[in-house]
Amino acid sequence: MRTQLRPALVSLVALTLITGLLYPLVVTGIAQVLFPRQANGSLILINGQPVGSSLIGQLFDAPKYFWGRPSATSPFPYNAAASSGSNLGPTNDALIKAVQARIDALKTADPDNPLPLPVDLVTASGSGLDPHISPASAAYQVRRVARARGMEEAAVRQLVSQHTEGRQLGILGEPRVNVLALNLALDTLK
């Protein structure tokens, strides 16, 4: 047992230096050279100031903006320093109440919207930071956003389709709309 003690301690130190220090430093070095934008958080800069990340959602609840997924982070929604899902179970009354409140908010902002309400617009995302909504959820909100901005619905719809990403390579993932990018584009129009 004594003979194995030295290799146990020495190899732990050596492997710690290699895998814990050398490896992340090498990855960081290469990443910062090859992909500096992605490695630092895919920030969106306006006049040199960060207004968000193209990968992280923000809270929107004004009628003139497209709204993103409900977020369960605390103490406020879309807290990107403390990611969290709701963890509410499917039969928990608290989930049903929360969903009902979200339906009410959407209906109040746009009464008698004839479209069916897509499920992703009233359910909290896994991360609480989901930057996307489904194309159906964007379509649902076109009428409200157009009215609040005094724009033609067709113009808003066209902007939505410009910001709709398909599946990667035509196969992987799901079609989606980046809410922050879409809202930034709306603000530059007007």
């Binding site: 992280i56 179970g89 489904s134």
Partner: protein, 601 residues
């Protein structure tokens, strides 16, 4: 199940199986000490480590020495990781100024990462400094995976050698696993992930000005940082505005690559691979979910090569793949069907061109139902435990799939190394059962299976249910256990069952609602993880030693060939029977009763 969903899952398995042979072949060469292409680059570093350690590369160990070396190395790692967390406040690379981790949490986390479980009772971006994540967690991601691979290789040598007293050298198996296999793969994967948007920086958290400042209800805190309660006992709130968004970043990609390749699963951020900085695109998701099963699958081929009959490896891989493929459709159907309570509220959950539909609570748009379910099944079939959606919010049967897959003892792919050595144990039990049926002495790969081997195998498969069900029972009848429950009713029982199933099988995924950062869960869970890991590892090495000593029995007319479809079916049958007989009663109290309640509402 949609057409596109089938195509995505089909593509996944085609790519996975296509990579099994090249990687498996390569790993066999690494473990047999043959030239493998990286010798020029890595060789000098490898020899330097041996010289510092005072180890001779050719020195062979018997199983007891091998076990002692493995235990000493892991014991030292456990102690170092505990100390690092307790003292992280005194060390550099801590831009957020995090203080010492509490003792019970530090023990749980140290046990968790040393045992390749990566159960996380803490939120990464709120608790740990960059230094702890790197020198503590990333290191254990590598070495705990390499430990599993080393034990597997020792068992394979036990099967392949005849009349031998030794089963290899732990130090060379450990170091070669890391330098020749895990590190090159992790380097490649982490750069691919960064190209998709996974962060990799040592800068402190970024701040962005919000387009629309957010108003919210902020909990009022007293001087001690405790929430103030109003007359009704509810936490008091005051209106507040958030004009900025603080974006947590860090050296994430390097850790995420090894967390997937080493079936570790511990995330850099709290929500693991659901976080857009940890898993930003469908392509990054494909790479990560591929990495979950890559090494465990390829090791089957390595086993076949090293025992001199690749059909044996393919048979084990076939049994694993078939079992996994049986469960994915159930998960897809349950999650795509959605929540009946939502339908009652008039919400559209149908899959269409405009949305993936289904139960989207706790899921991300870019992954939808298909990639969320594929991930939840593979991450629990393997003992990975990373998540890209919140399992606690799954429908009852959708949540049963990951729960049941873990309860097979993490042998359906399982952990790197540990999954396959578990599956070999089940294969030994399968030949024993077959031997009983026809009244002949059982053999596996030309080795007679005798009472000693059967005792070791039985010891292995009995301990896991005792740990899992025992701790779940204790938790469900004590206040310290039940007070952590988040969701009421049978779902609350599922949360506790899931927690101990996950820790008792070294998986690490969770029904995240359960408040597990309590002394009770931290201590019982830490013990469960240590038992699950080392109770398997030590008898496995004993088995390896016993098998190595045996002579080879030439195959006779009464020998059951262990590469035929018949044997694959028999093996699947044994795995399913042992798992189902043990866990169906507990499952009935949790997800099954919840499903019945949900559809009858």
């Amino acid at each position: 199940m949609t057409i596109n969903g089938l195509v995505q899952i089909g593509l996944y398995f085609v790519v996975l199986v296509a990579l099994v042979k090249p990687l498996g072949w390569y790993m066999a060469r690494v473990y047999e000490g043959q030239p493998c292409g990286l010798d020029r680059v890595v060789g000098p570093l490898e020899r330097l480590i041996y010289r510092l350690c005072g180890v001779r590369q050719t020195e062979e160990m018997n199983w007891k020495t091998y076990a002692v070396a493995m235990l000493l190395f892991n014991g030292a790692g456990l102690f170092a990781l505990y100390a690092l967390q307790r003292w992280q406040g005194f060390f550099p690379l801590n831009p957020q100024g995090f203080g010492a981790v509490a003792p019970d949490l530090a023990f749980n986390t140290a046990a968790s990462f040393v045992t390749n479980t990566n159960w996380q009772a803490y939120g990464g971006e709120m608790t740990l400094s960059y230094l702890t994540q790197m020198l503590g967690l990333t290191v254990q991601n590598f070495v705990s995976a390499a430990t599993g691979m080393a034990i597997l290789v020792a068992l394979i040598r036990g099967l392949a050698r005849r009349s031998a007293l030794t089963i290899g050298n732990f130090w060379t198996d450990l170091v070669r696993s890391i330098l020749y296999i895990l590190m090159p793969l992790a380097l490649l994967l982490s750069l691919l992930l960064v190209s998709q948007g996974v962060v990799q920086t040592f800068a402190s958290y970024q701040t962005a000005t919000l387009l629309q400042p957010a108003s919210y209800a902020k909990p009022v805190m007293d001087a001690n940082g405790q929430p103030v309660l109003d007359e009704q006992g509810q936490p008091k709130t005051e209106p507040a505005m958030a004009a900025e968004q603080v974006l947590a970043v860090g050296p994430a990609a390097s850790q995420i690559a090894i967390k997937q390749l080493g079936t570790n699963g511990g995330g850099f951020f709290n929500v693991n691979s659901a976080h857009p900085f940890e898993n930003p695109t469908p392509w990054s998701n494909f790479l990560q979910v591929l990495a979950i099963l890559l090494v465990p699958a390829a090791l089957c081929y390595t086993l076949g090569m090293m025992v001199g009959d690749t059909r044996q490896g393919w048979a084990l891989l076939a049994a694993m793949t078939i079992l996994l493929l049986c469960f994915i459709p159930l998960g897809l159907w349950a999650e795509q069907s959605g929540n009946p309570a939502f339908t009652a509220l008039g919400i559209d959950q149908a899959s269409s061109a405009g949305q993936s539909g289904g139960n989207m609570e706790g899921k991300e748009i870019r992954f939808g139902i298909t990639n969320s379910v594929l991930w939840s099944a593979t991450t629990t079939a393997a003992s990975n435990g990373s998540v890209n959606s919140m399992h606690d919010s799954y429908t009852p049967l959708g949540g049963l799939v990951p729960l049941f897959l873990m309860q097979f003892g993490e042998v359906v792919f399982g952990g790197v190394g540990s999954g396959l050595y578990g599956m070999v144990v089940f294969a030994i039990i399968a030949v024993f059962v077959a031997g009983l049926m026809v009244g002949r002495t059982p053999e596996y790969l030309g080795k007679k299976i005798e009472p000693y081997e059967m005792k070791m195998a039985s010891l292995l498969i009995l301990i896991m249910p005792i740990v899992v069900l025992g701790f779940t029972a204790v938790a469900s009848v004590t206040g310290v256990g039940t007070s952590s429950i988040f969701n009421p009713g049978s779902h609350g029982f599922s949360e506790m069952l899931y927690a101990y199933t996950s820790m008792g099988n070294n998986n690490g995924s969770a029904f995240g609602g359960l408040s597990v950062n309590t002394p009770f869960y931290n201590l019982t869970g830490g013990i469960a993880m240590l038992i699950a890991r080392f109770w398997w590892a030590i008898p496995t090495l004993a088995l390896a030693g016993a098998l190595a000593r045996k002579k080879l029995v030439p195959a006779g007319p009464g020998t059951l060939p262990t590469y035929t479809p018949l044997f694959i079916v028999l093996l699947i049958g044994v795995v399913v029977l042992v798992g189902a007989l043990t866990f169906v009663p507990a499952l009935a109290l949790g997800p099954i009763i919840e499903h019945i309640l949900m559809v009858s509402r």
